[in-house]
Symmetry: C2
Subunit: 339 residues, 2 copies
């Protein structure tokens, strides 16, 4: 046995098993070419020594580490949770381990994490949304690491995208809101800088207003990080302004739940006094009372399709095919027809 | 420029910068020993080539990868989200990147992920809870990778623990429930096999009952995975049994929110017809109506203390010091005094 602080090497395994290092290597990578007797000796030595093939040796032999990296904006609030869970389950079924890191929506942190995951030997990467500095795309191209974008679909993206059209999805909800007689909309948006999903959703509402002859410049817009408390504060700011909307549309469900809470605290009834809408259809949307009208996004389908396609890219079966998924409206109690 | 699919090496950087590979290595690892002129040349070449020190080279030079791995049971439901966010923020402030993987509460998946993270060069690991196969602890000891346990405190654990006493915390809530006149308790538990947090919480309730002369064997216990829908089903099962409890205590807030939803659907008023309690005090607890009585766990403090201590362990400043944190009760509308 080696001392506890020395990491066992391929040599140590070969010595302990009484075979050559080439046999150990073949055994770990292409075990069908090794006799059963050698294989058992090697596996016993591997287990006894606690040997793990290191990145260099294993990557050289298999050309893969069977590790996929996902870099998401946040692990809080469950916005990415369901899609990521499906992504992981599908990867796992295909023999890959998922490592996740989160950026707190900071582009500089994302850039560091991309480099760290590639340095740790990630076979492929999943990124959220397409808006990032050009130098990152150049870097990914130079390193030749298969990378897929999800949570947004963009026809002209440099990398394959598997997601939905954030603008058209929010436009569909806005059309519905206008159909129901609302003319005065307030909007609580996520932070737009560096977040294509947030900016596309806001554009969707503006498009919808213009199409009905309404001026989007009249609409109060409050930007907020995706936290319940901040959504609540943004709602209060909008409702205390000179322009009182009959509906407050929100960039996601987390903001909308904050808006509903603050409405309640301010003595405003939802939807009698003010309607509120969200985006995402996470579990929260059905827990609040009244339930939240929102845009349903096929998170699980998006996650598992992204995993399938990224696996194909890593295994050189595909160079990356984009796929647009449909969203749909969920009309619930928080939105009412205006009298 | 190299072709896009060839990964640049230290040699490539040295050639592009017109310096020796030793200079490049010194520059990347101990830049104070290199002239400013050489440093700038090297950094320009690194940037141009998209060079990332690979695991082997960098680990050899720095003896660290500045990567910490955390393996958590699930990314869904935000049970671990707030603590993990604080863990990551503190690590990041100390110059470390966090990589997270999740196990879906499967011990076999956890074992694989521990090996994968060590193979990817993790300097240290965070694990949740202390209950796992002895061979994992032996493996971690052999590999000499600093490992810390959080979300549970255990005096006699082989590894340092930073967390709270799950049994005593639930016992305190149970005592309160009994003080309020309840004698018939139903319990919805997480899956107990392999989950020390779940089993300790159930034991806390049983202890509390015994201390008042009540027989814990009378208590209906329903085990459920931590999902809202499953909590709802477990609640219905318990309420339709022959023994009708006046309070249903739940192993966490996610189960409790499911119980509240199903109570509502069954036409039962909370807390008039049945009281419901949770554990964790995640955001959900204050979003439901009535708000949920629960045990508040200092998730943020636990996450940041775990990051501080694990950093000290990785940097050989500490061999790992355990720390017990206090939980506290949050008495809200879902629990009432029995007439």
């Amino acid at each position: 046995m080696p001392s506890t602080h020395i990491i066992p090497t391929l040599d140590d395994v070969a010595k302990a098993a009484g075979v050559s290092t080439a046999t150990v290597s073949r055994c770990l990578n292409t075990s069908e070419k090794v006799s059963e007797r050698s294989r058992l000796k090697v596996m016993k030595a591997v287990e006894m020594l606690g040997y793990t093939p290191n990145f260099g040796a294993r990557a050289m032999a298999a050309k893969r580490t069977f590790t996929i990296g996902a870099i998401i904006p946040t692990m809080e609030n469950a916005i990415f949770a369901r899609g990521l869970q499906a992504f992981q389950e599908t990867l796992y079924a295909n023999g890959y381990t998922l490592l996740v890191s989160s950026t707190a929506y900071r582009p500089d942190v994302e850039a560091e994490q991309i480099k760290a995951l590639i340095a740790r030997g990630a076979d492929g990467l999943l990124l959220i949304g397409y808006e990032r500095d050009h130098s990152i795309y150049k870097y990914l191209e130079r390193r030749g690491v298969p990378t897929l974008i999800a949570w947004a679909f963009a026809q002209d993206s440099a990398l394959p995208t598997i997601g939905f059209d954030n603008r058209a999805s929010m436009r569909a909800l806005c059309d519905k809101v206008l159909d129901m007689g609302h003319k005065k909309i307030g909007f609580i948006s996520g932070i737009i800088a560096g977040n294509d999903r947030a900016s596309e959703r806001l554009q969707g509402v503006k498009e919808g207003m213009r199409a009905r002859g309404l001026d989007p410049n009249d609409m109060p817009v409050c930007e907020s990080t995706y936290e319940i408390e901040n959504g609540a504060n943004a709602f209060e700011t909008i409702m205390q302004g000179a322009y009182t909307p009959t509906v407050v549309m929100c960039g996601n469900d987390v903001l909308a739940v904050g808006a509903m809470q603050r409405a309640h605290e301010m003595g405003l009834k939802v939807p009698q006094d003010v309607s509120i809408t969200g985006f995402d259809d996470i579990e929260l949307a059905r827990i609040v009372s009244p339930q939240l009208t929102t845009v349903h996004v096929p998170h699980r389908e998006m996650g598992s399709r992204a995993a399938e396609e990224l696996t194909r890219m890593v295994e050189h079966v595909s160079t990356g095919v984009s796929c647009q998924l449909d969203s749909s409206l969920r009309l619930r109690g928080s939105l009412r027809v205006l009298d």
